[in-house]
Amino acid sequence: MRKLTRTIVAALLTLPLISGVASAYELVMPTLDYRTGPYAPNGIPFANGYGDYLNMLNERDGGINGARISLVPCETGYNTKKGVECYENLKAEGQSGALVFQPLSTGITYQLIPKASVDEIPIFSMGYGRTSAANGKVFPWVFNFPATYWSQATVFVQYIGQEEGGMDKLKGKKIALVYHNSAYGKEPIRTLEKAAEKFGFEFMALPVDHPGQEQKATWLQIRREKPDWVMMWGWGVMNQVAIKEAASIRYPMDRFIGVWWSGSENDVLPAGDAADGYLSGAFHQPGDDFGAHRDIKKHLYDKGLGLGERDRIGEVLYNRGLVAAMWTSEAIRKAMEIHGTNEVRGKHVRDGFEALEVNEARLKELGLEGFTIPIKITCENHEGPGQVALQQWDAKAGKWNLVSDFYEPLRDITGPLIAEDSAQYAAENSVTERSCN
């Protein structure tokens, strides 16, 4: 017993020594991963893509402009409370402090939005989180480019209109939304209600409770009501269950559109051939035929440094993690340029995000030509272009293909909603709008 006590005391005493080794200035990038729990099938590829790209920058270029990146993962299990604990634990990590948080969960994003602005750490909730954060005047510390859920919902409505032969044909059609019954899933409802009013289609919202393994009742209702189109805002195990259920009631897959978090290989593979033709939103290409991917294989996987499995590079969610890492690292590069130093802090990185411009030429330099849409962020617009395309699953070839152009969102619907919601946030939290001149 005494021996055990002594060992524990010794271990506790040496703890600060192990963790407190000082070295050259490192860019601390915490990642809130979820490799456990019901959302792990989606959390793992994203975390791998994000980590691999940044590790590749370290191996290939020695970091960003010579400053090495230090990735600090923290496991959240997609649980808000654990996410907050991770945030508190990592926000002051290292010499630089956390430079940017990528929460990858709408619940955690909502928790961190007020905290991060006080701690002066930018939040990059790429295409998720609070939609009205697109209003940079009220949310200076939050960035949700390249497009929000509301933009995406209006894009789906446009796609449906086009398939039906014109927006005026939407009148009298029935569109259902199957959504994760949480802050995340509820995001598009108001937009779709407005769109239903404008174009005269009937809208029905069908919630699915966490984690979404049981959806028989929902799909029975769809079989009874026979909506012309079904949209889905799902995540984790909910996606594959929904696609399997849709297949079992023989719902036409090419009339079933998932949000871009409901469109990865993990979601469609379990349904097999029946998933052929399923659609989802997208803002980047699938596949691994890009320079950046080749560099990742060469500098990481050939040396055994990769985070995931080699044959899963280029999956949809892997590429989503990669594109998030690319934009984040570009923002840090921009921050270094603006402030003329490599020793950037969270508040500098925020300036970098706000001045971020990644155009076609820059994408080409990064080895990602045609991989995603060009973006340009400004002080008042944190959503960026807001353009969304649709991708379709080809079950025979086992891959996703982009099947549409990039649509512009219907800003006449989303604009007033964003203004209204951000004004409500500002009023409730006594935030004053900043000026953007």
Binding site: A11, D33, C74, K81, Y110, Q111, K115, T131, H210, L417
Partner: protein
């Protein structure tokens, strides 16, 4: 030798009935209070206060509440998460509507609202018992969460159904919202917990507490000796819900800052608090604290030791954490089915005889 009551004579009934009749107990309690209020806030950093001690204290209050109902009165409840949600949503609506009342009265008020709701859902306990009552409270869990998720009035029609705590001050110090002072938040919650733990200890040994325990031990016998089950059971539901409601209000307003009903107050929350009192010890104030510490602090410590100390991969350490906590729960319950509080009692008995046990 250390823990010996020899020589402590009581000359009147008042001394004999004191809350902590033995000197050593009293010193320990004063010591803990001194450390809690005078040492901890100045010794520990923001991470410790915000991410470890706040949830520990708030869960202790919730566990205390459930312990009153389940541990003292013997009514099994699976609705703790929902009652915490009632507290949270009440305090949210009150904070937005009547900010001028001040934060502490609003927390007490939301406790009272929860007490009313809890009493309502406690009515079935007069007819049904044991596992059947657990099912009835489970209905409360699902119904209330559904209600808060469905009816826009509760979350002021926000697009995502989330509620955000607006900033509020006590004596000019901000205690809710993102700019809140960490030390002030800690003091606020610690004061609530200390005051209401003392109250619980007193209620439990008084007439009401004895009625509860009589009902718990054998309700028919209790009825025969003159305990009225209606009053006893409903007061237990009311007092318990009052505690749980305040815990919910603090959980949302002071600790989390924003919450959505389906995640922050789901069924797992109810189970978590129930496990706290089972592991800590049913019918024991100390047990509520030990159980909360076991299920809140231990996993975080384990994670920090693994990840920061040994550099274990974050996902692997999450798995190790789940396994270890599970094994420890089973281990503790095999060694002592009556919980950690009972272990402490046995330790006290041993200390009393040490170093000459017979």
């Amino acid at each position: 030798m250390i823990y010996r009551e020899t020589g402590q004579f009581k000359a009147n009934y008042q001394d004999d009935q004191a809350l902590f009749p033995i000197d050593q107990d009293r010193y320990v309690i004063f010591g803990i209070l001194f450390i809690t209020f005078a040492v901890v806030p100045y010794l520990l950093n923001q991470y410790w206060l915000n991410a470890i001690l706040l949830p520990f204290l708030i869960y202790s209050l919730a566990a205390l509440g459930l312990n009153i109902l389940t541990g003292y009165c013997g009514q099994l409840s699976l609705g703790t998460g929902a009652f915490m949600a009632v507290g949270a949503f009440s305090v949210y609506k009150l904070m937005v509507a009547f900010p001028e009342l001040g934060f502490i009265p609003l927390v007490l008020l939301s406790g009272l609202i929860t007490a009313a709701v809890g009493t309502l859902f406690g009515l079935p306990s007069l007819r049904i018992k044991g596992f059947y009552l657990a099912v009835a409270t489970l209905a409360a869990q699902f119904f209330l969460i559904w209600l808060f998720n469905k009816v826009g009035w509760f979350f002021n029609y926000s697009a995502s159904g989330m509620i955000n705590a607006p900033p509020m001050t006590i004596f000019g110090v901000i205690v809710t919202g993102p700019e809140a002072n960490d030390v002030a938040k800690y003091y606020l919650v610690a004061t609530f917990v200390a005051v209401f733990a003392l109250a619980a200890k007193n209620i439990a040994r008084g007439r009401i507490g004895r009625n509860w325990m009589a009902i718990r031990d054998m309700d028919i016998a209790a009825e025969l000796i003159g305990v009225r089950p209606l009053i006893a059971k409903l007061t237990a539901f009311a007092v318990s819900s009052f505690y749980v409601g305040m815990a919910g209000a603090l959980y949302f307003a002071v600790w989390l800052g924003s919450a959505e009903p389906t995640e922050a107050f789901d069924i797992n929350q109810s189970f978590l608090v129930l496990f706290m009192i089972i592991i800590g010890g049913l019918g024991s104030v100390l047990g509520s604290f030990l159980g909360a510490a076991f299920l809140v602090i231990l996993p975080i410590m384990l994670k920090n030791i693994l990840v920061d100390g040994f550099g274990t991969d974050s996902a692997l350490s999450a798995h190790i954490e789940i396994i270890t906590v599970g094994v420890l729960i089973i281990g503790f319950l095999i060694v002592e089915p009556h919980g950690l509080a009972r272990l402490w009692r046995i330790a006290k008995e041993k200390l009393r005889l040490w170093p000459f046990p017979y």
